[in-house]
Symmetry: C2
């Protein structure tokens, strides 16, 4: 099912031979017009050269024209050579597109500590055919993901398309996650940058798969204005909707995951505490294991809430699982078999009311399976 | 192998029928003399009644005479009834021992959210035979632990004996961990309390199994002075040695673990940052999975260090695994097969120099196995 990019955007990919599997691994996303942009990048101190380079570009405030992404090699912890290789990837992509290197953002994802095969990128870039469709790009940026992740929305005639990859090392600020949202709406860069921070905090930063934070993550939005102006609030809402859909798709496709976990916390003292509390439940290994075993072990939900830093009195907390009340300041009688049965679903929802205030938030995760361990026990050997 | 308690301490256990397995599950630890004591308890907001009660006793500064522990039921999230049941357990134990309830600390570990069967505790307490040996107590406090955990030391003629249980939900501040250290040395309570905080920070709080923080953890030390005075610094060193040995035993016996992980970080800007950094590596699911697979994937170690909050420049970091240099500001050539072979050991050591300052610390963890998932997927059902 081909997803058409917003006006003025084109994308494409090729097999450059970076992934050992021989699958597509080099991709370009290009705007015909200079685009306003905003992004959020990993806070990891061992951030890859592409992240350092991106921060530098971001600081200039200049518009962006293109992104070049390679998958299969994170070009991280590759020493000073890594910085040269990253700059070279930008130069090669800029040359291919007739742009200046400063107009091209780089992104890399894959194994850490292996020198980037720049000569393969040089050979691959001319082969990339640019089309108005998102799909080949979405396919080429995957690593251990099982499915491509694309979402779209319309807003007052303008369009928003988002493309992302997961799916391990997924945890707030940020995940092994690359997300690219593009829109043909016009929006001032300052407003876009300010809105983007909140959108990322409420969506991508609420995804957790394993608590590890990757060295290469970023979430980018580009707005090229090819369609024209739309009400900014409507645009931001559409961007947030697309980001949330991608966040859920990333969590659903977490390494080894068999189901999506959606945690909704209400009644927190603040929205920040609600976000923390929801994330703590989505990230609890004990609860994720219980989720895998269809075990309605709500004690682990309460323990994770208690460990989140959010303020509450356990005697005022309420917990529902798939709509079934399990706890209300104390043990509730419930049909354990029915609750376990209700957990055999593709999406499992935890709802918790902390009984403190008005703060509400969601977080997205998945179950912890034996498959996760197998995938990650044997990644490089 | 029977471990004799320090002078003036006795302990014992019985099968009260709290554990479904029918194994010993109710235990007493008693000092003939009033003991100076110090403890550290979980920071979890959903802390169990036993923790709230212990905090109250601690605040009075009065000496302690005994601990009553039940395993198999955490008496947590059991509503207001849970508080009454906990107080009742203390009263029953005090009656059995001829003490005041305020002289008895309670501890519970096991499943959350199930009312405590106090009548079984009442029936079990009179059956407990008190002896000068640690072993029956060490056996009775276990839950999913595979082996009892006891450690001992001598200091200037006085003795220190420590008894602990793990082994899931193990993460700083605190773990699903109960630890009881007893000594017949004399020490002023104020000095003991101050020293204990640092000892716990450097030992039990550096253990991580799954990042979850339990609702019932505590680490207690009792000093009854039956032997007499010893140099305080020597005593604290002995206590720390025993605590460290127990911490390693807890990590080694983490749920599903096949090996012990010892992470030593040096060259951090501060000791606190070294502790954080070491803990982040010991707690990284990705690295723990690689450890299980004997995969020398040092990129995950670097990524975990980068995620710890400790300051460093990746170009100055060095990483060794089992003494083999893998990374020094960039990729080092190493024999992957030999490194993988070296990981097939009961204890695997990671050493990292952050190149920033003089801060050093250790953390203790274990590998993440398919067994962990199996154990925790089916705990209550």
């Amino acid at each position: 099912m081909a997803v058409r990019l917003p006006r003025g955007f084109r994308a494409g990919a090729t097999r450059a031979g970076i992934k050992p599997s021989g699958k597509p691994d080099l991709a370009l996303l290009v705007s015909g017009l200079p685009a306003q942009w905003a992004y959020a990048a990993t806070q990891n101190r061992a951030a890859a050269p592409s992240i350092h380079r991106g921060r530098g570009l971001y600081a200039t405030g200049a518009p962006l024209r293109a992104v070049v992404v390679n998958a299969g090699n994170a070009n991280c912890a590759t020493g000073e050579r890594g910085f040269r290789d990253d700059a070279r990837m930008a130069e090669l992509a800029a040359f291919r597109l007739g742009l200046a290197p400063e107009e091209v953002l780089t992104a890399s994802t894959g194994v850490i500590g292996v020198p980037l095969p720049v000569e393969r990128i040089a050979a691959g870039l001319p082969q990339i055919e640019l089309t108005p469709y998102a799909d080949p790009f979405a396919e080429a940026i995957l690593t251990t993901d099982l499915v491509p992740k694309v979402a779209e929305a319309e807003v007052a005639g303008a369009r928003v398309v988002g493309i992302a990859k997961g799916s391990g090392m997924i945890h707030p600020n940020m995940a092994t996650m690359l997300a690219f949202l593009v829109t043909d709406a016009w929006v001032p860069q300052e407003a876009l940058r300010e809105a983007w921070r909140g959108i990322v905090d409420r969506t991508f930063n609420q995804v957790t798969v394993d608590g590890d934070t990757s060295t290469n993550d970023l979430a980018l939005v580009m707005a090229n204005g090819a369609y024209g102006e739309v009400p900014p609030e409507a645009l931001f809402q559409a961007l947030e909707g697309v980001a949330r859909e991608l966040a859920k798709k990333i969590a659903r496709d977490g390494e080894g995951a068999s189901k999506l976990l959606v945690v909704r916390v209400v009644g927190a003292a603040t929205e920040g505490e609600a976000r923390q509390a929801a994330r703590a439940v989505a990230g609890s290994l004990l609860w994720k294991s219980a989720l895998y075993g269809n075990d309605p072990n709500w004690g682990r939900i309460l323990a994770a809430l208690g460990n989140s830093g959010a303020r509450f009195d356990p005697l005022r907390v309420r917990i529902h699982l798939q709509g079934i009340p399990l706890y209300a300041g104390g043990v509730l009688p419930f049909d354990r078999e029915a609750a376990s049965q209700a957990m055999r679903a593709e999406v499992v929802e935890v709802w918790a009311d902390l009984g403190e205030g008005e703060g509400a938030a969601e977080a997205y995760g998945c179950d912890l399976t034996e498959g996760y361990v197998r995938i990650n026990a044997l990644y490089t050997t």
